[in-house]
């Protein structure tokens, strides 16, 4: 399928159909093992290697890129709830840590009402539950929406996954590689006998 010139079928490649119908896809001389089994194993390896590499790779970069550890909070004005239910805890703004205060300001300004707590999260328990914070005259319902916890797996998974993918690719490419090699040997032998 790879070596081809134009429309007319070339010598290394049998035509797909003849006047009566299709030509069998796999000729008898080909080994089923190399044509189907090896690529199949290859795909399995790639498919398993992908998650390994993703998870392993993520662990490697998560710290340097700052992808984890900073939870995000949302702040919704309480009047959108038609009066706050009594059961929600009130959290005085004075108890907020500087990082929490910064996140709250960010959330109030942001169109998505979200902010990232970049630093000490003193009121983790209260904010996980959700609490009402009065800030500069407005009351907000503030809650942690994502904890962004750090992923904890062996970084070694990354190389393992990468190797699995590479070996897998080789597996998938076995049939054309094999055919190329067989053609090569054929030609060498012919050259020698000539």
């Amino acid at each position: 399928m790879s070596s081809g010139d134009d429309p007319s079928p070339d010598a290394t490649q049998p035509p797909a159909t003849d006047e009566t119908g299709p030509v069998e896809p796999t000729t008898g001389s080909e080994s089923l093992l190399l044509t189907y089994a090896a690529p199949f194993l290859g795909v399995l390896l790639i498919a398993a290697g992908l998650p390994l590499a993703i998870v392993g790779g993520y662990v490697v970069i998560q710290d340097s890129v700052g992808l984890c550890g900073d939870p995000s909070i949302t702040a919704t004005p309480v009047d959108e709830y038609d009066g706050a239910p009594e059961t929600v805890e009130e959290l005085p703004a004075s108890e907020l840590s500087p990082a929490e205060r910064r996140a709250l300001e960010e959330a109030i300004d942001s169109p998505l009402r979200e902010g990232t707590v970049d630093g000490d999260l003193a009121n983790r328990a209260a904010l996980l539950e959700g609490a009402i914070v009065e800030y500069e005259g407005n009351r907000y319902y503030v809650q942690i929406t994502s904890q962004n916890s750090c992923l904890d797996v062996e970084p070694l998974l990354f190389p393992i996954g990468a190797i699995a993918i590479l070996v897998g690719i080789a597996g998938v490419l076995t049939p054309p590689i094999y055919r190329k090699m067989a053609g090569f040997e054929e030609r060498m032998r012919r050259d020698r006998t000539d």
């Binding site: 049998p14 797909a16 119908g21 896809p25 690529p39 795909v43 498919a47 998870v55 904890q147």
Partner: protein, 762 residues
């Protein structure tokens, strides 16, 4: 990680990959081979002028084949986009905590995955296949309204863009944020893909994300496009058929498209209205779905009244393709053609009567709920008829190894698992437990993935020579098909297993104990992803480099007399363009004798004979069933007198459809079932029960259904009583079977067909 950037990069990578394949394949084609080779027939140097001409041509065409290709290309793009969503969902679920992306992102992913797949992938691809092949199959020159056809297609790209504007805005915003201050682009940053679930239940969908408005507008626009397409199909099939094509020999794919389009006409306007109501609620302060107004449950009713038929809108064309393609590769005519058509019509009608099974857990009145359970289980019958007919078509056939064969057989298998698990879900107590778990995800993906895309792939292989004049790489295709089937089974059976363990769905995090199975499911999903890329590669590469075919009959259809009109069209074209002479097969064996009906003039005149056959088949069956049931009642009465059969079990029958337990009502239902349901099944399944005579077949049939009856009506008898009970059950059923089959035989309703095919319909 920024989800939007990752998604757009992956999408870009796939597109760039495709372009590279195209470029490489073209270069190889342009290079004369070293041994002198063949002169290239046309030098493909694309100048600006050519590009402009091509752009004008493709944007203004009204040719049904070109519009069909546009639809298919659009659907493929949407599928890749939605597929990337799916891969990202599965990647997210690799770890029990929400590490790789946040919870919010996860919700966005599954919302937009569902919508993109259902709305922008499946329907457009099927409409594309319909546009290309339906006129060829029925011998029409074009669709009935070519311009409307073009409009119907061109509404789709803007609707997809509107629906997914969030991601475009997010990426633009994220890129701009690097160079301009955040304040300037806060409008862009406010867009975010909705994270409300594809069902858009209020009050979640009333949350103030501006993108939700665009999503609703996009969906509305796509609904209009779909309705336009459906009107076009219906008109084309009714008015544009060739003289030689009557209703009786209208091919099965066109039948399916006709019925699908009919469902669309009834379902989509409703969705459009509901979407507008939701838009009004969001922006103009109406309260259709607010608690103080119509209430969120109203939305659920409206959505599912569209949503369940929608399931069949995307499923029926797939069964049509199966019924069309499978026979070609097993060398046998489709078994029980007529009953497949009936079952399709039955599904079309029933699909509007089952919507509330999606709402079993919302506190619908229990009696109403029970009747929805009954109809939901009943809708399985026509689907089962289809499966039986497919399996029988393969039986004794001359099954040939090719990618479409693998896809057909694989998807019948996956569909059986998906269908059976669906029947369980229709049972209220089971649904209450499994509703919110991965069981549901596994079930519907076995159907959504297991038959819909698989049949699209099968069609793409089957018609590839016709579309391109070349053959795809058949080894790669066989390999790819196997991978796809294996990957789908692995992924969704694993989700099923997770469901049995009652892992709730739609959560971004899960207990660590499930991570093993989640990883298996992810690996399966990547296998699917890889196989889809292989298909894409095969399609593109072979377009430039595939071996040209030497005959218009690449599948040896002439040898089994299945050389259908679209191939005939292709043969004429090949002869005109390339001078390829029509081929003659070595030997011909009949696989069917087409019924050549006169084509009457009025619509009424055309529908009337069909209706008459349906009515007479149904009438004879019903008469037989009624007589059989009365005879059977006598036998059961004897059992009651002997004290081995409890009348109470008949009475409780009424509770199944939400009526109070009452003997008269129960018996009434019993009569109705015996008159309507079982004879219909007999007419369609009787074909492959043993026995040359109808009577013998009737006995076999009765024996089979007796086993179900024995279990269903068992009321705790033991010892000898049990033995007697079983004896009477079998006896009563034999009487029923004899009554049913005897009546049918004497009224001449059912004709046995020779195993090679069916001789017309009269």
């Amino acid at each position: 990680m920024n989800r939007a950037l990752v998604e757009v990069s992956l999408f870009g990578a796939v597109i760039v990959g495709c372009l590279l394949v195209v470029g490489f394949a073209q270069r190889l084609r342009a290079e004369p081979s070293p041994d002198g080779g063949y002169a290239t027939d046309r030098e493909r140097r694309l100048g600006l002028g050519d590009a402009k001409a091509a752009a004008v041509r493709w944007t203004t065409t009204t040719n049904h084949r070109e519009i069909g290709l546009l639809y298919i290309a659009f659907g493929t793009v949407a599928a890749i986009w939605g597929g990337i969503d799916a891969m990202m969902i599965r990647t997210h679920l690799l770890t029990p905590e929400a590490n790789l992306w946040t919870e919010q992102t996860y919700n966005e992913l599954f919302t937009m995955h569902g919508l993109t797949m259902l709305i922008f992938f499946v329907t457009p691809v099927f409409f594309g296949i319909g546009n290309y092949f339906l006129p060829l199959l029925i011998g029409a020159d074009d669709m009935a309204f070519p311009r409307l056809n073009a409009i119907g297609f061109w509404l789709l790209p803007p609707s997809l863009l509107l629906a997914r504007l969030g991601i475009v805005a997010e990426v633009t915003g994220a890129v701009l944020a690097v160079i301009v201050p955040n304040d300037w682009i806060s409008v862009l940053l406010a867009f975010q893909e909705p994270a409300i679930g594809w069902t858009m239940y209020p009050p979640l969908s009333l949350a103030p994300n501006p993108q939700t408005n665009f999503l609703l507008l996009g969906l509305h626009l796509s609904g209009i496009a779909t309705t336009i397409g459906a009107i076009n199909f219906i008109t084309t099939i009714i008015y544009e058929r060739d003289e030689s094509i009557g209703w009786a020999n209208l091919d099965i794919f066109s039948w399916n498209m006709l019925i699908t389009s009919a469902i669309v006409i009834f379902a989509f306007p409703l969705l459009g209205t509901a979407l507008l109501m939701l838009l009004f609620d969001r922006n103009f302060g109406t309260t259709f779905f607010a608690v103080e107004g119509g209430g969120p449950i109203l939305w659920q009713h409206l959505l599912w009244f569209w949503g369940h038929p929608e399931v069949y809108i995307i499923f029926l064309p797939a069964t049509g393709l199966m019924s069309l393609i499978l026979p070609k590769f097993v060398g046998r005519k489709l078994f029980g053609f007529k009953f497949i058509v009936y079952s399709t019509i039955a599904i079309g009608v029933l699909s509007f009567g089952v919507w509330a099974h999606h709402m079993f857990v919302t506190g619908v009145d229990p009696r109403v709920r029970a009747s929805f359970m009954a109809t939901s289980i009943a809708i399985a019958v026509p689907s089962a008829i289809k499966v039986f007919n497919w399996i029988t078509t393969m039986w004794n056939g001359d099954v040939r190894l090719a990618a479409p064969t693998i896809l057909c057989v694989g998807s019948i298998g996956l569909f059986i698992v998906g269908g059976v698990t669906g029947i369980f879900l229709a049972v209220i107590p089971v649904d209450v437990i499994y509703h919110g778990t991965y069981y549901v995800v596994g079930h519907f993906h076995l159907i959504l993935m297991g038959i819909i895309p698989l049949m699209m792939f099968a069609a793409s292989y089957y018609w590839y020579p016709l579309l391109t004049g070349r053959m795809y790489d058949r080894r790669l295709a066989i390999f790819q098909s196997v991978l796809l089937v294996v990957g789908s089974a692995l992924t969704f059976m694993t989700l099923m297993a997770l469901g049995f363990l009652e892992l709730p769905r739609r959560y971004a995090t899960y207990p660590a104990g499930f991570s093993g199975l989640q990883i298996v499911a992810t690996v399966g999903a990547f296998i699917i992803g890889i196989s889809v890329l292989m298909w894409l590669y095969n399609m593109i590469w072979s377009y430039f480099q595939g071996t040209p075919i030497e005959t218009a009959d690449p599948w040896e259809l002439k040898a089994t007399e299945q050389f259908t009109p679209e191939w005939q069209w292709f043969e004429d074209r090949l002869e005109r363009k390339r001078g390829v002479p029509p081929s003659e097969p070595d030997s011909v064996r009949p696989s069917y004798v087409p019924a050549q009906d006169e084509r009457p003039l009025s619509i009424y005149g055309r529908i009337e004979p069909v209706a008459r056959t349906v009515a007479s088949d149904a009438g004879v069956g019903a008469t037989g069933g009624f007589i059989g049931t009365l005879l059977m009642s006598g036998a059961l009465l004897a059992a009651v007198v002997l004290g081995v059969f409890d009348l109470e079990s008949i009475a409780t029958l009424a509770t199944l459809v939400g009526l109070p337990s009452n003997l008269a009502l129960g018996y009434g239902l019993f009569l109705i079932a015996g008159t309507a349901v079982w004879p219909l099944l007999f007419l369609s399944l009787g074909e492959y029960l043993p026995g040359e005579l109808t009577l013998v077949t009737g006995l076999w049939y009765a024996t089979v259904i007796a086993s179900g009856f024995a279990i269903g009506f068992y009321t705790g008898q033991t010892g000898l009583e049990l033995v007697t009970y079983l004896l009477f059950v079998v006896l009563a059923h034999w009487i029923y079977g004899l009554g049913l089959a005897g009546t049918i035989a004497s009224l001449g309703g059912r004709q046995r067909r020779p195993s090679t095919g069916e001789g017309g319909n009269e």
